[in-house]
């Protein structure tokens, strides 16, 4: 059974139509890649999937239920992990604090959050010094990895990643993709946005967004 379903989604910014009549199904245990030209509406689609924006028509179903009717805070804080294209980290917090904050918001209990957060940061390739540094003082690639660690910290069922490897060298990209792959194998649903053909090749399914013709 699909965990996320798109049913005839339409979305526009003012008069600019971005998404037109999109239907798709995402399933657990698979890794998806959304491709398309710049400005095709990939980030917009992820915003809809993460509940930050509402489709103008059509439905997004989470486990068969319209996300309109679910607790959007719970949905955002527990069920999905989002890696934003622009990271959206709190820059005055340290990397570790950013990760821990997400665990707090998700209501993670019963584990040593600091230890788990540090393990995650190490697993995405940061060292301890970098983990304890304010995000402001990290490089773009390091920030991206912090964002990845944050999205994984509360163990969500769905991972939404907007160009998660865009700022990374091939070696690190492969390490990160390895992590996503293992998550998919654990039964999670991983949805990536990428321009990279290498990334697309590693995914189970690809969905191409066409830039909307000006009808």
């Amino acid at each position: 059974m699909s965990i996320l379903t798109l049913e005839n989604i339409n979305f526009s910014y003012g008069k600019t139509k971005v998404l037109k009549d999109i239907s798709y199904e995402f399933e657990n245990g698979k890794m998806y890649c959304i491709v398309g030209k710049s400005g095709a509406g990939k980030t917009t689609l992820l915003s809809l999937l993460s509940g930050l924006a509402k489709p103008h028509s059509g439905k997004i179903l989470y486990k068969g239920e319209d996300i309109k009717n679910t607790d959007k805070y719970k949905y955002r804080s527990k069920y999905i992990g989002v890696i934003f294209q622009s990271f959206n980290l709190i820059t005055k917090y340290t990397a570790l604090e950013n990760v821990m904050l997400s665990m707090d918001i998700a209501g993670v209990k019963g584990i040593n959050k600091k230890k788990k957060a540090m393990e995650l940061l190490l697993s995405v390739g940061l060292d301890e010094d970098e983990a304890n540094r304010r995000v402001l003082k990290l490089s773009g690639g390091q920030m991206q990895r912090v964002a990845i660690a944050r999205a994984l910290s509360y163990d969500p069922e769905i991972i939404l990643a907007d160009e998660p490897t865009g700022n990374l060298d091939t070696e690190t990209q492969n390490e990160i993709m390895e992590i996503f792959n293992s998550l998919a194998e654990q039964g999670k649903c991983v949805i990536l946005v990428s321009h990279s053909p290498d990334v697309a090749k590693m995914c189970d399914e690809c969905y191409e967004l066409k830039r909307n013709s000006k009808k």
Partner: protein, 563 residues
């Protein structure tokens, strides 16, 4: 609770801004604390001064309210009713202004039945002339030397309160003056010795020879002043003869049982100023009111109608007495209750109840209450400005942290929780600043209040001197105890003629500066609670704005618009 943890972390992260807010709140709270302390000090002073102070009060006819009633009737219906002598009903008017309005002894006694009344006494005053071998002390022959006037200036400082004492010592003389009869002596009859507080331990008069007249006696016994005794060469046991100023034939023989001295100020100045010999305290003769009652009855019996040679007016020769009654209350509450009780017993609204003790006391705390009022306004302004500044600062704060709010909500943190976190931050900063401010304010309150009080006192005194200049050597006139409302309110006259300033604590009456000049403690639980209230108020006003902004923000827009 991660929200709390988060807010504390946040405070630490933006030290600069929080220190700024803290300093502003600190300034507000120090000023607020001092303001509140001043108000509290005024309240404390009021309570402690009135505590355990027994109050005396008098009932007097309120001429002003009577005047109001009188005037509209003059112009009723657009045209004046028929009025003799130039459209003004003199007889009506003089009836209104005259003695007809004084309460009778029976009425006074009726109101004394009220539960609140602790004790009741009265004095009867007669204006009597002497006889050939019994003359009043008079300074008419004395020259006003330069020395004298210098001296009087020196003494003028004392007047304010001497006047109070004077009022008590010489009940009724003002009444006599008003009717123009310039008699030699004021003969004051006391209903009981208890009323003669001038002769009590705290009083300023003592019997130096002989004894006091017998309490409540109907016999013609009296005590006279030392000056009078020397002036007329009278010894204890001698008799003196008084005559009715309206009828020389009518005379009364009194036995002098005692001679008293009074430590009261320069009496000569006084009589010179007032221009009547009977007003000179030295010409006050004390006796029992029962004895005077006998005289009055006798005088009425033998009354005849005479015609004034100059004006052609007719008058009765019978002696008219001035009655003055004093009610004593065990405390202020009883005094305050008395009004209602007396009204219930039938006291008409035209009469007012006043207490010179309360008036004197209120006068004494004038600088403090003025300061307290100023402090009140100051407090409002400070809190108003403070709230505005805090609100503005918080708007900036929230706008600056817009992105953070966007991230937090995008991560699934409820807006309510974000707002709560912001509120916690504001509250923690404000509360600690208020606490520190309260401590600083508490330490400063007493010296600051006293310094302010000093300048307020100087101001009050400067005003007084102005009044003194304007009214030529009558300092403190407006503030005279026993004359609430100053000279303007003639209704205050009743207060003049009470037996004495009974039970006013020393220090109130002892010196000219009867003002409370210092406070010693101001902070108490009330102030602390009020400060907490202010902290909550400031936080809420600032926090409400933060809340509003947080609730309004849409995370997607914030994150999309970031630069």
């Amino acid at each position: 609770m991660y929200i709390l943890k988060n807010s504390f972390k946040s405070i630490g992260r933006s030290k600069g801004r929080n220190v700024l807010i803290g300093i502003i709140v600190l300034a507000i709270s120090v000023s607020a604390c001092i303001g509140l302390s001043i108000r509290q000090a005024a309240q404390n002073a009021k309570e402690s001064a009135l505590e355990g102070m027994s109050i005396t009060a008098t009932i007097s006819y309120d001429r002003q309210s009577a005047m109001k009633d009188f005037q509209p009737s003059m112009g009723e219906g657009g045209k004046r009713p028929e009025m003799p002598e130039g459209g003004f009903d003199r007889s009506e008017f003089s009836k209104m202004m005259g003695n007809d309005n004084s309460l009778s002894l029976e009425e006074y006694e009726k109101y004394a039945e009220a539960d609140s009344v602790g004790a009741f006494y009265y004095t009867t005053t007669l204006s009597l002339n002497g006889s050939d071998n019994f003359l009043p002390v008079s300074d008419e022959t004395e020259d006003e030397t330069e020395e004298d006037s210098v001296e009087s200036e020196e003494n003028s400082q004392d007047f304010g309160f001497e006047m109070g004492g004077f009022g008590g010592k010489m009940p009724g003389p003002m009444g006599n003056m008003m009717f123009g009869s310039m008699s030699d002596f004021s003969v004051v009859g006391y209903s009981t010795h208890a009323a003669m507080s001038n002769f009590s331990a705290e009083g300023n008069s003592t019997i130096t020879e002989g004894v006091m007249f017998t309490d409540e006696t109907e016999d013609f016994e009296c005590v006279i002043s030392e000056e009078l005794a020397i002036y007329n060469d009278i010894n204890v046991g001698d008799t003196v003869i008084f005559t009715n100023p309206n009828n020389e034939e009518e005379s009364y023989e009194f036995t002098v049982t005692g001679i008293y001295t009074s430590t009261e100020g320069n009496t000569t100045d006084f009589s010179a100023m007032m221009g009547a010999t009977s007003l000179d305290p030295a010409n006050s003769i004390y006796t029992s009111s029962n004895a005077l009652a006998v005289i009055i009855a006798n005088s009425e019996e033998n009354s005849s109608t005479m015609t004034d040679e100059d004006t052609g007016r007719e008058y009765e020769t019978a002696l008219t007495s001035t009655l003055s009654a004093t009610y004593v209350f065990k405390d202020v509450e009883s005094y305050e209750k008395f009004e209602d009780e007396a009204r219930e017993l039938g006291l008409s609204e035209e009469y007012t109840i006043s207490s010179s003790d309360v008036a004197a006391y209120e006068n004494s705390i004038t600088p403090l209450t003025t300061l307290s009022k100023i402090a009140g306004y100051f407090l409002l302004v400070i809190l108003g400005i403070g709230a505005i500044v805090l609100v503005v600062l918080n708007i900036f704060n929230v706008r600056e942290r817009k992105y953070e709010i966007g991230v937090l909500t995008a991560m699934g943190m409820k807006k309510g929780k974000v707002a709560t976190q912001f509120l916690c931050e504001i509250f923690a900063v404000t509360l600690s600043a208020v606490l520190i401010g309260a401590i600083i304010g508490g330490v400063c309150a007493v010296p600051v209040t006293n310094a302010l009080l000093d300048s307020q006192l100087a101001q009050t005194k400067a005003n007084e001197e102005q009044v003194q200049e304007n009214f030529g050597g009558m300092p403190n006139m407006g503030n005279m105890p026993g004359m609430p409302g100053g000279m303007g309110g003639m209704g205050g006259m009743g207060g003049m003629s009470k037996p004495d300033n009974i039970d006013i604590p020393e220090g109130f009456m002892g010196e000219a500066q009867n003002y409370i000049t210092e406070i010693d403690s101001a902070m108490n639980l009330t102030v602390v609670i009020q400060m907490l209230g202010i902290a909550v108020l400031l936080t809420l006003s600032a926090g409400a704005v933060s809340m509003l902004f947080v609730m309004r923000y849409d995370p997607l827009k914030i994150l999309a618009n970031r630069d």
